[in-house]
Symmetry: D3
Subunit: 249 residues, 6 copies
């Protein structure tokens, strides 16, 4: 169920039955020579919608722009400052809380969002704690690749060449979603991107990772893998979702 495709009486009826909602959050940033700029938003959205189907929960609109300043030296990247993203997430959750949503699960597609989104939850909770009131809502962020099935498939498919940015797996998922964008078998140079160095600003990131990839070999990705990864991610997330609902009981 997509919130965007429901009427308000539909949503009201849902809230009579249950009070959880899923929000996809991604990023708009470079993903190497062959990965899509929208990878993190597209994958988060697809996994979140699959999860919504699987567990019967409403899926809200995708927050497609995240915290990605370190990719700004590559054309096309859009970032929010962390404090902007905090304000954004707070307002989204505050809106949902007003209606009676009590569990808000963010399905995330971008590692760079994790700290900031969690801090946004704390900012909201801190206001309640300082006022001596209850927060009125429980939030969590889960990364779509953080279950058991997806890592297992990655090991099977990529044998240590999945990497940590512009990963073979996330690129495979986008190709499964948008086959017309697939560039299966494209040779990268070097095939496996460098890894292991940190960064501060965007300039340093690019100096360390000249084509944008970290540790990945997207030349291994296929549309077929993408479909299997997506299905696995939905199953993984269904477990996370169940654990999240249980955590607040």
């Amino acid at each position: 169920m997509q919130l965007q495709l429901m009427t308000w009486p539909d949503v009201q009826a849902y809230l009579g039955r249950r009070t959880d909602i899923i929000i996809p959050i991604g990023s708009t940033e470079q993903h190497g020579p062959t990965g899509l700029v929208g990878t993190d938003a597209l994958t988060a959205e697809a996994v979140a919608r699959g999860l919504g189907e699987a567990v019967g929960a409403i899926v809200g609109p995708t927050l497609s722009v995240g915290m990605a300043h370190h990719h700004l030296a590559f054309t096309g990247t859009i970032t929010l400052r962390p404090t902007t993203l905090i304000a954004l997430v707070k307002d989204v959750v505050a809106s949902l809380r007003r209606h009676g949503f009590r569990q808000v699960l963010f399905v995330n597609g971008h590692g760079g969002n994790i700290a900031t989104v969690n801090v946004a939850f704390q900012e909201l909770y801190a206001e309640a704690s300082l006022a001596g009131e209850g927060a009125g809502v429980r939030c969590a962020l889960v990364n779509w690749w953080d279950g058991s099935r997806v890592p297992a498939l990655c090991r099977e498919f990529y044998a240590g060449q999945d990497g940590s940015h512009a990963t073979a797996s996330e690129i495979a998922v986008t190709w499964a979603l948008f086959p017309e964008t697939a560039r299966e078998g494209t040779a990268h140079e070097p095939p496996v991107a460098p890894s292991g160095k940190g960064w501060t600003d965007a300039g340093e990131y690019r100096r360390n990772y000249p084509d944008g990839r970290i540790g990945s070999n997207p030349g291994l990705a296929t549309i077929e893998q993408g479909g299997r990864l997506l299905a696995a991610a939905v199953e993984d997330m269904a477990e996370k979702h169940a654990a999240f609902l249980k955590a607040g009981e």
Copy 2:
């Protein structure tokens, strides 16, 4: 061309040829008993993508949550505070400017965003003006219904019953996009919603407009009209786009 479906080298190549970009911005808010919560985002996205095709321009990610606090008394509405939306738009434009985009056109699907998004542009320009520098980017917001063709069709289709919120026309466009959500011919009570009263907070809005609509009769909307409206909007926006590019010459 969707930014989300391009690689960063694709974007860089584009910037060698031209420097404009289109950003769809909508809202997530009630649209009456039969309109979709995502109407303003879905319509803005569809029109913006059509425009992108028509003029060969890149279309960025859809900003699906806008300034919609007055709809919060209807379940499912999500709002940003105006100051949050200002920060969001500023960061998006600042990111694009860094890459060399010089014309950013927001295609808007929600009247409640207009003032705030324009103020965001001014905030960005004001920083430049106070620093004695050039802004480095020109921004504009256009509403997809603000050309000549769409209003003409609305008069033809709805004869004064299009209204100003949860309009027959915007609902028709969403049904053309998502036919499975169509509720053609649903009777509303009253058929034409009340209109003419202002509002302050969400509670007052709902007291004035009990089912969410303003002045509209969505019972007149059809999928077929939606297709024609969408095509007309794209043509209208192409004119706006040309005027926007010309304005900065």
Copy 3:
């Protein structure tokens, strides 16, 4: 009745009878070679005070500095960032609300303030809506030139040469208020300033409008016209005021 010239028991007595107040808001910015820097504040103040007399309402202090960054390339202009003006207007309204004022009408003298001041109202309302509370106050902004009488006089006096910045009409009003500043019949070069181009930052504004005027011929302005325009504006605003009070019933 000027708030500034009343005692607090006077104000309290007034609130026992009615709950509306008028706030003049202007700007401090260049108005071409012969117009006063304070034009927008001086005119707003004069019209607001005339309106206060006409309808028996309290008129608060004039907010003389507005959103005018685009005029900063001309010496003497002072601007607030939009977000500063939002905070300012919010605090003013919040103060008035605390006392029981329920209708706050801003009489505005500067086009550049319109979006920002309206966004300030929305910021205040949004806080209420998110909290599920009533806003407790209704706000509106009206421009003193936005009635029927003033445009009619402008057509009569200036026949299309009134313009849109450093207008003949606003300059005439200031000369009626401060005859010692009048420069009637000063020739401008060109007599009618250019118009039709937009702007981003202050530098671009000045490149497009080298002496500061847009589309106006202040050489046509006279003190006598100013007096008639002022009287007409007060009558126009009295209609707006009545409509504003009625809107909330």
Copy 4:
């Protein structure tokens, strides 16, 4: 010379000769049973304009709303939050700096503004210091009653009954400016208001000072005193102004 009554070429010519400017800042707040709500703004404006005449300096627009939350339990008071006033003062000074003003002297009419306005200067300077740049402008705040002549007159006129809020002297000045508002000889009960207690919020202020006055006996004020106080204040401020200009040499 009032900035508001000059044209931009006038201001530019002035900046060819000297780079200082005077900004009046006051407050809109209760001043006891007989004092005007605008007292602090009206007196600051009158003294600043007198000073401008005396020393040939430009006087900018009056900032009529200040930091006065503690008076909010008395009807008619308007306050800015301190952080709003900081933003306001920063933007005003930043605008003036852009034009080449290098000395900005705030002539203040309200004790409650002192700390906040000085902090605003520090906020501006701190940005420069952190950037390793020069501030580009020197700011100071002086209270119009802080010279030698005004205190001497107060001792002569009021012999210890001038007080510290709704003072006999400031009320006398407003009556000299607006004789129609004078309420000479009004008996207060008690004649001399209480004093000596601090306060936190507005409610506590009112509990301590039930009619708004602190330590004053406005029943002693006369129009004639007001004229003499105003003249003395201008002379006092001329000394402060000279010292301010000298401080930066």
Copy 5:
């Protein structure tokens, strides 16, 4: 070397040799029935100072108040909102950067600070990235318990009863530092505190963890252990420090 105990010429001389600095950051929050409110600040400070001695680096002032809203239902806890802590950390780092410090290592004593402090780094870096500039400084946060030696000792000393808040180990360290506060062998009820539940606001935290501890048995802590843990932490941190300096090469 403590920054607080150096003169500015001392610091300048140091910067001629090396450009790294250590900042201890902790929290002021409840630590169960027998743990000190200052535990997280006291331990971070002691470890940081030991580290400074070990590696010859300057240690800055301890930031003793952190992000601890979830402990507010226990008396004595002080928290910053996350956004306040972000601003604080940003200003501290910006100050150090101005002097030429290029590596700033925060030695942390409180799990609740981790996300927020890292987001502060990103906020600083994001400004640089958006401006197309270098950040000019590299920051990292390390928790004093995150090496190899401390966890090994914890297993030896507490065999799974160290817990995750008000841990036996951190309490032991504070007792080693302030033996007069030691309450060795105090019985807790239950001996091992509950664990495994999350929380949102402070009220929920207290409902889940009634005496403040999570999973710990401070009854096992001794002064003697504290001394050994502290020494181990310094050795662990020296490894982290070396890795941090190497990361930026």
Copy 6:
């Protein structure tokens, strides 16, 4: 009693008896060629702890970083922007208020903090006043040198050569606290530093005060004086503390 060395049940017991607390606040900034960077924090902390002992009150954690941008041209100085310090102080006080602390006395070691910390109190009070609520807490800031005994000793010890920054007296106190840092009898050039000039940014401060001192001769300071000054300051502060508690009755 140090808050940092108490358990939460200790604090709760204290609040059953009394509701006041002391917070030391200082700065991290240059103090001339022989004064410690931490002088203002170290002295404030020592005086506050002495005061706490003397009057039996809890002393909170030291806020060691203050508003010191004007010292940034000297290596080692750390500053907060004023608005950051306002946020910090507000959160600290809001946390304490939540527990039932009703009187918060800041013992200050740095002149540059005074305005900003007082503005922070007003920001907190203003929120209450605008909401029509009580502030719930009373705050004050006292400088440790602002009693009668310390100035008398300074006159005795330094005869007009104490100065106003990097004062002989404050340096003496730090030497009494950390004798290993003492540099008694160091000759300064000139012996008495210049004084009398203001400043804006850090660069101007350094041009006016090349070695950092203002008007002081730290060559006169001795450890022995420091001990007497510290004892005198504690006595002075005990008087201030009593007056503070009485002020709210």
